[in-house]
Amino acid sequence: MAKPGGKRRGMEALAGYGFMSPVILILGCFLLLPILYAIFLSLHKVNLLGHVSYKFTGTANFERMADDPRLWIALRNTAKYALIVVPCQTILALVLAAILNMKIRFRNFFRVAFYLPTVTSSAVLVLIFMWIYNRNGLLNYLLDAVGLPTYNWLGDPTVALFGIMIMNIWSTAPLFMVIYLAALQDIPDSLYEAASIDGANAWQKFWKITVPQLKPVTFYVLVMGIVGTFQLFDQSYIFSAGSGGPNNATLTMVLLIYQYAFKNMDMGYASALAFMLAVVIMLITVVQRLLFKEDKAN
């Protein structure tokens, strides 16, 4: 405009930094600084009594992990959990999305209804499920009614994690359903029309067109599902009142980190665990993004 170029550019820069300043401050102090601090902590023994003091211990915190039996229990629980929950919630999400994508009535109602668990607080969901799982609860009643064995869902170590699994499949599948539903809109109708002309039935179309076309999204859903299982905390904390019990059956990685940091006050070791967890999660997401991009380009 009328203003000289130099002054204008200066004003723009000033506006730019002005607009960015709250975010720079907040993310700088509570995201960037904590990341650096986390690395620092993981290399130290932290003493929290009186003034916080640090003693450099090099990689001792990381070496300790190999001999930590509770870490291996948490990892085993996570693996067990991921092996069951991730495939189940992915298949459920895909089936629900495929059905909702058909020309049906009340489609919007079903979508809104199915999504309900996803917006409910995990604290509430766990309490509701504990109420359903209690010894004289609804689940045992239903199991008994159809002649299946009943369990002490809250207290029996062999089924406690399974109880959390059922709840999480139920509450996470709808989120992925919506992602699938959006992806389904991008599959060109012409593919289905061509298949119809070739005499394919609905089942064949689903397997030969829908499933292959959704491959990148399925990959994304699987990866996000695995990352989610690594981050499990609220559910097992509330379920076990913070202990990870019965008998470590519901101990997860984040719960273990929480216990080391805030129960044992061993912030150095807890930070090292958190650091390892973050690296694993980031590696998984980066690999997913790279492969996803490649898939998109093809």
Binding site: A15, P22, P34, T120, V124, L127, W131, I132, V178
Partner: protein, 275 residues
């Protein structure tokens, strides 16, 4: 072909209705328990409709647990402030990254993209120590300030503003509006759909947040509802009537927002869902 598809139609509805039932039953069962008396619950009847409908449970939790209304208030203060700050700060940053040229803007954009990938677990312990150092433990700002801006939604707003028609801003500039006036009077009012999607996600996230208040609030009066509920569970073991009434109260605000704004949800999820 067509007739076969028609024959399958009822099966589709049965499946959908069946799954809707699976979704609803836990909520209905909780709602029903919240209106039952303890003796009726202990008797173990499987009736959804209470035999003796009572509001006692709701009255009792407010009367016997004087902190319950306080927890509700704490949750509301935190969730509303976090939402308000995020809407303003994320939009400002998103707008700057999309439209204003300034040295370092590209670097900041990539930094924000990188931050989206950082899992929150990494920063739990250092954030706690920083907040402790600031003397913020057991205060509202302990949760509000660190949550006041979020990289994911800065990115979302940037993507939104980048597709914004430039002509509007040029007209505003001719009218003599500076960047701030332009942003507040022209750009923000037109960003309503993006702001609505953001509002829902951030409010829900803050309202339902569990780990942060758990580690930052040790004073019972500063608990949020999610932490309060958890202590409540420990205190009233097997008083499922009270626990369920408290759970229903916590669910209601989020539920109302969801029902009224659900169309913005889908947009937001497909956006933040990496598509």
């Amino acid at each position: 072909m067509g007739s076969k598809a028609k024959r399958l139609r009822p099966l589709v509805y049965v499946l959908l209705a069946g799954y809707a039932l699976v979704t609803f039953i836990p909520f209905l069962w909780a709602l029903s328990a919240s209106f039952k008396s303890l003796p009726e619950i202990v008797a173990g009847g499987m009736n959804i409709i209470p035999k003796h409908f009572t509001l006692d449970n709701y009255q009792t939790i407010f009367k016997q647990e004087p902190l319950f209304p306080r927890w509700f208030l704490n949750s509301a203060i935190i969730a509303l402030s976090v939402t308000a700050f995020n809407l303003l700060f994320n939009s400002m940053a998103g707008y700057a990254l999309a439209r204003i040229r300034f040295p370092g803007s590209t670097l900041m954009f990539y930094a924000i993209l990188g931050m989206i990938m950082i899992p929150g677990q990494l920063t739990i312990i250092p954030s706690y120590l920083i907040i402790k150092y600031l003397g913020w433990l057991n205060s509202y700002q302990a949760i509000i300030v660190p949550m006041a801006a979020q990289a994911t939604y800065i990115f979302m707003m940037r993507q939104f503003f980048i597709n914004f028609p430039r002509e509007l801003e040029e007209a505003a500039e001719l009218d003599g509006l500076g960047r701030l006036g332009m942003f507040l009077r022209v750009v923000l009012p037109l960003a309503k759909p993006a702001l609505a999607a953001q509002t829902i996600f951030i409010f829900m996230g803050a309202w339902n947040e569990f780990l942060k208040p758990l580690m930052l609030m040790s004073d019972k009066a500063m608990f949020t509802l999610s932490i309060g509920l958890n202590t409540f569970k420990g205190q009233y073991i097997s008083f499922w009537n009270y626990i369920m009434a408290a759970s229903i109260i916590m669910t209601l605000p989020a539920l109302l927002i969801y029902v009224f704004f659900n169309r913005f949800f889908v947009k937001g999820i497909t956006f933040t869902g990496g598509k």
